[in-house]
Symmetry: D2
Subunit: 476 residues, 4 copies
């Protein structure tokens, strides 16, 4: 997961991008970067860490020009972390007549075979990232027109991608034909703005216009925007439903609808489908609050903020050597005894992945005196990993992939456990027919993953096995 | 404002202190420090920044020994910031037979005259902090017993102080006779623990025992605790009511009662005293959430999280040069249009200081489509500055010191405005007679401030004038 | 100018490389880097600054494996400095069956046309450095054998290059057919070592074996070394005479002979060719000391260290705003009045480039009381820029390119000025016929520079004009 | 050992001090600091590291005002290093009517008893440094005139001290009555300048005026200098002869005479006293070069720079785990084989302390092919530690304290060994009768050290024993 932002024709392009990334910080805390262009050169600064730590006045001053793009990157488990920060910048691409900076949100499933073929032809790779492939394909085009080159390149890549490209004189936004990942278009005076979520527009005072459409390419030069249908949008789209369940900020527009409303409806539907005889509804803060409010209002059971979240959690937190019970959960959450003591609690969360954290939280709530704990999850059981850009563990690690709801309930030691139904979820996000990808809940993948097989890095064995399994079955 | 933490007789004293400070991070983000002692030497590390950034594995490894104290410091406006970080350490104090480290939460009101007198006698000051005076007074004692020296020193200092002292072989906790600032005593196995708030105990798994009493000194050596009544507790105490209104963490015990319950009662009382004909109750996150929940439940008006808080706000945020409307508020909050549009909103906050932020938030809520905005504040109007350790602006800057509620309502452009009554607040915190200091709401100060007059630094002119005014009136 | 070092088959390959770079620090202080390989992966760390500052214990620990290469880079005037640090690493090159790290000392004169052609074919460039081109050419080879691929690549690049390549299982050293830049081969137990100068061998206790020959490729796997004549050595070689005049360390073997002896002979020949009626011989420290000793011993005029060099000169030295006479020279040198006062001084330096520094030093010596200053330079006048890797200013800036020795003497305000003759210099370095490149003193360039014309970066205008001029004349 | 610098009445006082410290960097590389004053406040910046690394443009900009003092500190073995950086600053001293910053070069021998007495009286110590005591004594004065207070304080401290004091409106220089450590007075336009050595004046273009006399206090306000004889100069002075032997820069005036000339005379006298039948004279660079030149010129044996010094030695140099022969010496020096091979070598150094380094260097020279190695030292054998500010090892560690010259010669494996005689040394520095302290060569200490006994820190056991021994004997 990542956040991307771009702006054209603005006197403070780099600063606006800084603010945009700041608003998109929740989409990635590992690294961030900005590239800007003044019509003659592309300037870049990227580093590990949070946006507010990486950029200083002087750094932004060096990022000259009126066009800029930026990227925030989610924490990944391994690999050469420094080399993976974006934007990826190349000094010269013929069809762009100069330098190009690229920001990518998503995951190319045929990265492996493309990479192998490119290497065979003599391409030289600087990173192991799939995003770099996009630039190699573009550079190989014999067309001297960027738009034609994009038209040649795009059909070759498969998977999930919302892309921003910054050339010396243009800003380009691209969204894959399935529409996996979001990309919004906005306006600020004479400037067009592109961002993963609309909350980035709010901070800089830009107006939300619309989504970039699946398969659409928008080319922005100065104050002019040109739209091209570069790829035929798939008849069945694959918008990532997890953006509405968990990932996006509650105050954003994503895929043309507001996340807050979706989560409220998830909570309400969950209350209808799976009521509980309880005294209070307690959300796991912060992401499950909206669904918990919906649950509370539908059920009439009062809301209580029985878990307190610590907002100063740093990434290099030092653990004590002596054993402190449930330390990991305690660093993040503290129970509020007064609210929980003696109460029958509906605990609302937006997912159960491995089950270990949920188990600790249930215990924490019980130790604080709760009489009963009824776990409610605002989406269906997560049974399959994502291959389109969400950082999920392997299938084996997903507790729901191999356990019944009863078994999970016993494992997390709750008094009851219920998930929102798939139908309930699709209604909550007001999905049109075939509009959303629900592979993580159904195991039905919208793209043929057989091609993806040889592509994975060898170290990534768990994920390889997942893919084998998927590839042997039918896809959607 | 500051947070303090101490632990004795623990094999990982410095790490436990690190965790304790981490839990008390909300009490101060400017700087932090830890001193530890192994019976022979005192080790110290302190720096500007957040606890998680300041301390690394190797830093903690160097803080040897089984006793430790720590301090987090609130942002202050000026002065030699680096020199003000605590613990303050001196290499040799005769009565302690070695080095002493001091952590201080509070404010001495006779610091100026003490300082002048000490300088006259040849004392050499390293900082402009009032806390350093405590160590000079202690050092001057001709007693060679630390407890006796404390007994000589304490009556000389006036004002608000919860102190932790670390000597080479003991941990000492002190609380002033008025009990202005909190100090809790806890236990973890064979270790006694002292902390500003009980949430620090929760993180390390320690048990809350009781408050250190006003005027009490506790001396901890190994697993033994000795309690001494060093100062006569005042018949009328002066516990800081603002701890319950705003400062302390909701999940803490402070002054022997839970903050969450106090805030819930404030919200309920506010709803009773000042109902509103509205559709939703919206808290200013995060501190006003508990009061808003109380208001919602008492009034039956549903709660809606119509303002989203950005939790990645860094301290060196770079502003754009171009004007973005209400930028300051936007960096911190974003309205959730879906929840606010067309609604009559009760906006709940826990204080209005200058009024400028409130004015921006009301506007933000209105711009997001709210039909009406009814402002409700969970305490009385703040009319007087604090001289006992809370960082308030000068009287002139406090909007309620010179404006009626109607005038404030017009200034913040709300449809209505109401504050909780003083009586309502005292009931909410379950105050015994004369238990709390309410000077910020009443202008009646529990200590004779006339002595404080010549003490203030000259630069601090606004505050000087406030003190003149107060000193000319009667004190409580 | 740069320093390069490589070692194979050593349990502490990265640490040995660190020591090697440390000994080669004089060849470049801008940036440094090391890549190591453990047979499966290539690890890299590079940064701006000095070797001792860049590498820490933990950095070296992460550079695993028994093969390693390293690079120190000379300060360059502009460009994207961070991107220019070496080794340059690519993740996958087909003929190497994995990652490759490259270190390059020298300058490719046909870089521009190669780059243009590669970009036309779709190559994606990460830097503006000519060194990156080597990897692209290698990657493009359809041979799946690294040695064959090198055999295809090498004839395509023209200019000066000593290269080290690290693959996942081999260390490779390459030297161009003219032998412009040095590359020494050494042995340390079962390990072969390669370095720009033999002083790097001394530090780690390795034995100097021989030079890598012009046109030779050495491939080292484990303890085995394979030598291949990949390029026909030119009948007229072009070893850089400036290495012996100034650049290399006095205690090194370079081009199979010792620098100390060469410089001593330069000084002696200079004394014979251009004696002076003087009292003392004063070297400009540190590089001219050896020549001055030779001059003193040949002439019988006693040596005096009349200029003191400050060895703590940092790179970010802050100048005062007020004018201090000859400040720039003073930061680096201070005259020793006792030695200079009343004396007729022979001042010995190893080059006069722009003349401005020499002028300041002559003045400094005179102000310290010298009666006469006779300037002696241990090489001929520098009249032409270098296009083979030495960082010289443009022709216009070289004072000797447009002024007679008399004019220069008047400009630097010396009482007399003499340079060593070309013949004297060639004798001093014991040059065989056609062994050394003397283009900087003669303007006769060993390679046809006409090809170089379209290659230069546009910003580099001064150098462009130099090349035009050279190209219009005959080359050697 | 330390370097100190001060300037008054200069618009760029802090920058001039920065330059001065830069020139005095050889007197201390552990830490450095500057305090400046603008008549109202004292500003300070100090840190570990080299001057050029510690101070940036912005740091210097913050050091406002026209008076400033600075300090560079020599590496010390242990203790709380950060707390020991100077200037030491206190916020308020009555007799100075404000803040005071102190820089101290030297060592107080009665620090321990003063400290004990001050602590008994209630003084609070921030550091373990003896320099802090000066400020406490000053603060205790009941005089409200700084000069009178100095007059009270100075007789109480015993030992070696050159002091600079910066108050809000004055710059003060003080030198002890024995004149142990140097302090020079200079002039730059309307500004007076004070520095440990005159090389600091040269860099900023200031004129050397004279030494501050033993026992003299100079008070500089604006462009006015007032001189007071605060202490009676001892009839027998105790100028540190080691400044001329090794410590000061060769291009400096120290104690009113030039170091270069002294060292030249030492070398000549050594050649006369202890000739050698040899082919070349080789100095240990850099400090022994001047003496070696003298030796060479007196003896007629040619000088050869047979050892090359590495000037990039960092303080955190990482050693390899595998054993490299004589690694420690190799990192610092490399032999130049061409010069040494087959030669009978006179190796000149300026001291032999423990003998271990000399032994390595002799071996290194022999391994490089020297036929014979004759060691010559330009001072007498070092037999006693210094208690007046030079960082020497304990008596037991000084090889000459317990071994004859023959034994030392065998230990270092030289063919012959000779030291300069005491008489030769005193002549070389042109000492008047009783002008220099030669305790390190004679064991006769100019101050009664009996008082010093209880003062030493307990950890410093070796030094304690040395003092016992000395105290039991007669002093000079």
């Amino acid at each position: 997961m990542c956040g991307i932002f771009g702006i054209a024709n603005h006197p403070e392009a780099a600063r606006m991008t800084y603010l945009g990334l700041y608003a998109l910080q929740h989409r990635g805390q590992e690294s961030a970067g900005i590239s800007s262009s003044d019509g003659e050169q592309v300037y870049t600064h990227k580093a590990r860490g949070l946006v507010a730590d990486i950029f200083k006045e002087e750094t932004l001053d060096r990022l000259k020009g009126s066009n800029a793009v930026g990227h925030t990157r989610y924490s990944t488990a391994g690999g050469n972390l420094e080399g993976n920060a974006q934007p990826i910048v190349v000094k010269y691409v013929a069809c762009a007549r100069g330098a190009v900076a690229l920001c990518h949100n998503g995951n190319l499933i045929n990265a492996g075979s493309l990479r192998m073929e490119l290497a065979r032809q003599g391409a030289v790779f600087q990173s192991t990232s799939d995003s770099e492939i996009v630039l190699h394909l573009l550079a190989r085009s014999q067309s001297d027109d960027l738009l034609s080159a994009l038209g040649e390149m795009l059909p070759q890549i498969q998977g999930a991608f919302s892309l921003l490209l910054l050339t010396e004189d243009a800003l380009i936004g691209v969204r894959d034909a399935n529409g996996f990942r979001p990309l919004c278009l906005g306006q600020l005076g004479d400037s067009y703005v592109l961002a993963s979520e609309s909350c980035a527009f709010d901070l800089i005072g830009a107006k939300y216009l619309r989504e970039v459409e699946p398969g659409e390419v928008v080319v922005i030069r100065g104050s002019q925007l040109q739209s091209v249908k570069a790829l035929h949008a798939e008849p069945r789209l694959s918008k990532c439903i997890f953006e509405h369940v968990y990932f996006a900020r509650r105050d954003s527009m994503v895929f043309g609808r507001t996340v807050q409303s979706s989560r409220d409806r998830m909570g309400r539907a969950l209350a209808e489908e799976s009521p509980a005889d309880a005294d209070i509804v307690v959300p796991i803060p912060d992401s499950a609050v909206a669904a918990a409010v919906g649950y509370s209002q539908q059920s009439g059971i009062p809301l209580a903020f029985g878990l307190m979240r610590n907002h100063y959690v740093g990434r290099t937190f030092i653990e004590p050597e002596s054993r402190i019970r449930n330390f990991g959960a305690k660093v993040k959450y503290n129970p509020v005894r007064e609210l929980l003591a003696g109460k029958r609690v509906v605990l609302v969360d937006d997912s159960i992945v491995r089950g270990t954290t949920t188990r600790k939280l249930v215990k924490m709530v019980r130790n604080a005196g709760a009489a009963e704990v009824h776990m409610r999850v605002s989406c269906p059981p997560t049974i399959s990993p994502c291959f389109y850009g969400v950082d999920t563990p392997t299938k084996k690690e997903l507790i729901a992939s191999s356990h019944t709801i009863d078994e999970i309930c016993r494992y997390i030691q709750a008094d009851s456990l219920a998930y929102l139904s798939l139908e309930g979820l699709l209604n909550a996000v007001q999905s049109g027919p075939g509009e959303f990808c629900t592979a993580c809940y159904t195991g039905r993948y919208p793209l043929n993953l057989a091609d993806a097989l040889p592509n994975m890095k060898e170290e990534d064995e768990g994920r390889q096995l997942d893919l084998w399994e998927v590839a042997l079955k039918e896809t959607v």
